[in-house]
Amino acid sequence: MPNLQRYSADRITAIVLLAFGAAVTYGGWVMDRLEIRRIHPASIPGLFPIMLGIALIVCAAVLYSQSTKYAEEGEHTGQPRHGLGRLTLILLLTIAYAVGLVGTLPFWLATLIFVAAFICVFEWPRQATTQTIVRLITVALVEGAIVSVGVSMLFEKAFLVRLP
């Protein structure tokens, strides 16, 4: 049975790539040709992007035309076990740490919070009792503390990096 989801995903990707290829080609075309510096016309900075854009357009067209066949015959990665909710949670936690906490709080504190939160969120028991929750939070905080102190010491003391 054809994999209709993959078929439409490939078609949509092909259209997006086609548009992106066109944008890169246009970007290369309108790029400064440095005439004022009298460079050789064959060495204009936009030449390579123009070629890449055209190549991407061609490949996107081939992808579009081949997507039906591939959906019927091709091998593809299996569906992940978890859904969009888990993906959102992963991205929220990681991005909140990398973009929000790091640079705002001291690195060791940001790392402690992130590691502990990550462990708690993804190991939270389905049937939580006070005992299991206390144990989980303790383990998460201990690992968070070890990681934050270990990584901070390694980079700050051994590699002389000024942490964010």
Partner: protein, 510 residues
Amino acid sequence: MFDGFAMIAQAALELFTLTSILHVTWATLLGIFIGSLPGLTATMGVALLTTLTYGLDQRTAILVLICMYVGAIYGGSRSAILLNIPGTPASAATALDGYPLAIQGRAQYAMTLATSGSALGTFVGLVVLAFLAPVLAEFALNFGSYEFFWLALFGIIVSGQLTAGGMPVKGYIAGILGLIVSTIGSEGIHSHVRFAFDIQSLGGGIGLIPAMVGAFGFAELITVMMNSRSVLSKEPEKKGLLPKMADLWRYKRTIFRSGIIGTLIGIIPGVGEDIGAWSSYAAAKRASKNPEDYGKGSQEGLIAAETGNSAVVPGALIPAITLGIPGSAPAAVLIAALFIHGIRPGPMIMVEQPTFVFSVVVMLFMAMIAITVYGLALTKLFVKVLSVPRERLMPVVFVLCVIGPFALTQRVFDIWVMIVFGIIGYVLRRMDYPMAPLVLGIILGNLLDKNMRRGLIISDGDLTPFLTRPISATFMVLTVLTILLGFSSVRNFLGRTWIKLTAGFGGSTK
């Protein structure tokens, strides 16, 4: 040749120190752990470790990265044998016969056989590296802009073709996307800033290490967390026997063949260890007296796969060091690490740093000894490592993904680059786009662009030298053939023509 031996001896004298051995010990062990944990790959290991080598001297930094690379490729066999889950894609062929051996109660035997295969594969590869790299570097001194243009293009095309499974166009697209990323920032001929959109941080371009840490570290973290399941359900049986020398001698041809195939696959730009393992496995099966045993616990199959993937490592370093063109994704990261540590890979390497190639040979030898020792001694420890829940391991990996790229330039911008590439990498993986051509595109973009435009300046805009110079023409023919063979209609047409030709020949002889 005697110069070569003398330089190997000199490198050995310099490297076999207590400090170096200590570095080999921890780096290889770390590599084996990373390789054995499903979801963590050699590329990620090398990329993350690169960020930890800033404070080390040049030689030690390269030593630990090579040990990480060798260890991670070897480490993948642990989980492949014990859990039927390849630790890295390179060990997928290992699982075919390793796991059946494990469920027959011969897990320890299988692991020591895999260890022997990996060590011998690395050895075959490093011997080829020692002999071939200086010759290739000397030959590459004849390369001009035209040749380097085609070589880089051929590398991206062949990598896209061989790593994209049933749909080569996805490999090409990944390669082109990598090349487009490489155009961001100041270009190499006129220093004109391209696609920076007035963002000052983009002026210097996208750093390879943040991009790689994102595409391989963060993207792998998301993949692992999305696919999480309890992987540790089995432990190795304790009644396994250790392989005897006679067992290895019995498979001497398989070992030699797989070692050579793995090394040659490694030399092909951007192809990598998994293809090396599968090619060696297929060749061993074709040549075997007992092909029916393959997939059911064939010792020959296991040793072929492991010898093949480990031999790719030295093979991949041959073009990486002598041409600046990586033979695999981890080798691409290694090239970036070489630049960071002041080594300029390329044809001039034998002129500028003639001992470097031989130092790498000795480093590989040290890593080979380390994997042998660990493989034979630490079977139980690997099982314990595999029992670490991913939920506890992944936040540590992510902390390193964040702080590693930052440590290089002290720019928060590089953390954002890592995040963006992680998300792009995850989406591309989900859509079955291979990562190796993307990496190759990012690393070869500058080489391709500069040599194309430099070649055009030299020829005053004339394309003829790109097509007529002997080495250029050879690479051009290879590139076009590779693209054409990617189309099933062309392959079918060639197959039909071949059948017709052979049938006609057969008819005429009757």
